[in-house]
Symmetry: none
Subunit: 214 residues, 4 copies
DNA sequence: CATGAATGAGCATTCATTCAT
DNA sequence: CATGAATGAATGCTCATTCAT
């Protein structure tokens, strides 16, 4: 079924979809490297070797392509956050620590491979217009809540303090990650420092949330 | 006549300084509300009821006023961070917790009074141009290092774990604060949530860094 | 297909070249009539009935179009100066006089047909910026040297005084021509006076340079 | 009487007249060095160390000061032309040659001392606005006519050809002078070339206009 | 469907001129 | 009378968007 579905796309159709994806990709690169306001539609088109009129056959306007670029990038990011382990996959503190480490490593790997994505979301997209700003803030909030669910699992399982404010701590964890991203954007090549940063966070979290401490 | 330096400023001089300050203020409001790129010099002038040519009597160009606005805002922010208690003023964990609470409260108060400043620095200034982005990233780094000095004090005094990575944890704390700022910018009126957020951070920190835990 | 190069130009291409030429033409008219500084890009565009943004598709900026207008006009002028007879085509005084008369007539004809060109070069372009001023002065110098080569021929052939300072006299002749241009620009319709002026110059030259007089 | 007349000017009055003259002088320098359009009223004021508002107490507007500067400079120039010898002071060809040489030397001296005046009149003033252009063209014409009167004297005295077109030749002489001025403006330091140029003109004129030649 | 030529809204900046002090 | 602060008309230039080919 999935096979035949792909088959039904004519060559022209596939080309069309491909170009559309290429435009999103090119726009992503331009936006993350030069910034949204500094990027002209012509820059995106030139990068692809297409006429800039063609752009408008695929996207309504500049804001529209931004929308798609951001949505695309958000998807990558949320896959990153969501993908790993289910919140409930961990049953004790040591496993949690390991899970944190895996997530931390994964983040660092993502950062190395997608510096533009992080730059775009954290630095660029925050100031394009009020609506986009709101989307970013919402993403941050959602990420905090999702993180909180991991913590809630720990409380329920008893390896985190019963009085842990899971929601707020979840938001705090997102903050720590954001600071890590900023460090990475400042010094993209200092992998060691980044790993050390991850370790420090994990230590702080494990010690700070473990049951049996105040 | 020798009484005070202020006395020696002629009325014209005072007007001039006042207008200059007013322009910075107006630009600050416009930049933080609409964003740098969306703000025209004419917007700033109109807000003050002055001709837009007048603007250029006080500032070189649009980038120049941005520089002043940002520097001004950075000063406010660093005063906020630096002002409170000296890093070495605290000698035990309970005092540290209290110091954190005071700083937290102070931050929340500042946020209430200067929402624009936070919005400008964290959301807007990150994407105006590469140089400004770098300044913001530097500020974040500096803030982390300054925070780290508080932690180093705790380690030295023995109320924080000897193996605490003070530098990295300092950066993490700045991250938590940034997340708090974002929460505030999302929901400026939910003071209770913000206070709860502060409490959660403080608890995490105290438990996570205290000596005698791993 | 190999027939002619012109055939290979698509219609769009031809339109493009045509518009480009039209812009140079319109700018030429505006610059020569109102002056460079008094001419706005919008004036040029309006004259052609095109949007002023269109202008910038064909020329970098205002200085760029000036460059093209001037170069174009210089070409016309140098063709005028160079075209006639070779310097060495004349072998005796009477022929020289005839050559002078032909050149004089040709100049007058050119002036009638291109008053703007003369106005632009002699009055307008001298004061646009230092670089352009220099170009005009250089053109004058070059013209003098070229004229001198005609005189050198006469000296060599023996129909001009052996002690004639050909170079300096060449410059002087250019000066007389410039004065003629100015007279023309003052009184464009007095063709008779201009012809009389040409006669007077020729008489002065022939008598003043002929061999056998001091 | 002249003494008392000066005496009747109060000190304030004299200061006023002096400043007025200073402004004309400063404007002259700026206009001739940078050009009219490139000169701001503030430049003129700054050069004098006065407020630029003060300028408007002495002159109506920018065009007005130009008027005065040009008039002033024209006066200098016409004094130069007129001052030397009366047209009728010369009675034979050799004296005429000497008169020409004196005038030529005087011109070169003036050029050395007043390069700005020549630049202003010949290059700058020709393109400020139609009215000013006309004034320059008129000056050229007048100068030609004045020169013609010298020639008419020679014809009358019999040492110039009876058929000399004095008027047109007068204009031609002005043209030769203008070319000399341009050479000077191109190469202000080559005094020898300029003298040689003067000699060449004089030779051409004497031989070209003398009675007893064709 | 792709193209790029055309367009004009929009904005930063300059500077002659006015006028309150 | 001198001053310089204030003003806004004027203009060069950019770029998102449209549309004829």
């Amino acid at each position: 079924m999935t096979m035949s579905e792909e088959q039904t796309l004519s060559r022209a159709e596939r080309n069309r979809l491909q170009l559309r994806a290429d435009i999103v990709e090119a726009a992503f690169i331009e936006f993350s490297e030069r910034g949204y306001h500094q990027t002209a539609i012509a820059d995106i088109a030139r990068r692809l070797g297409i006429g800039h009129g063609t752009f408008y056959r695929y996207f309504e306007n500049k804001r529209d392509i931004l929308e798609h670029v951001i949505t695309d990038t958000m998807r990558k990011l949320t896959e990153l956050l969501a993908g790993e382990n289910a919140p409930t996959a961990v049953t004790n503190l040591e496993d949690y620590r390991e899970q944190c480490r895996r997530i931390s490593a994964r983040f660092r790997e993502f950062a190395r491979g997608n510096p533009g994505a992080l730059r775009l979301m954290l630095l660029e997209a925050t100031s394009i217009d009020p609506e986009m700003t709101q989307r970013i803030l919402n993403l941050v909030t959602m990420s905090g809540l999702m993180t909180a669910s991991y913590l809630a699992n720990g409380v329920q399982r008893g390896f985190f303090r019963a009085d842990l404010d899971t929601e707020m701590t979840g938001h705090a964890i997102i903050g720590m990650i954001m600071a890590g991203v900023m460090r990475f954007l400042s010094q993209p090549d200092d992998a060691a420092a980044l790993e050390r940063y991850g370790e420090a966070i994990v230590s702080l979290l494990v010690a700070g949330m473990a049951a049996g401490t105040v």
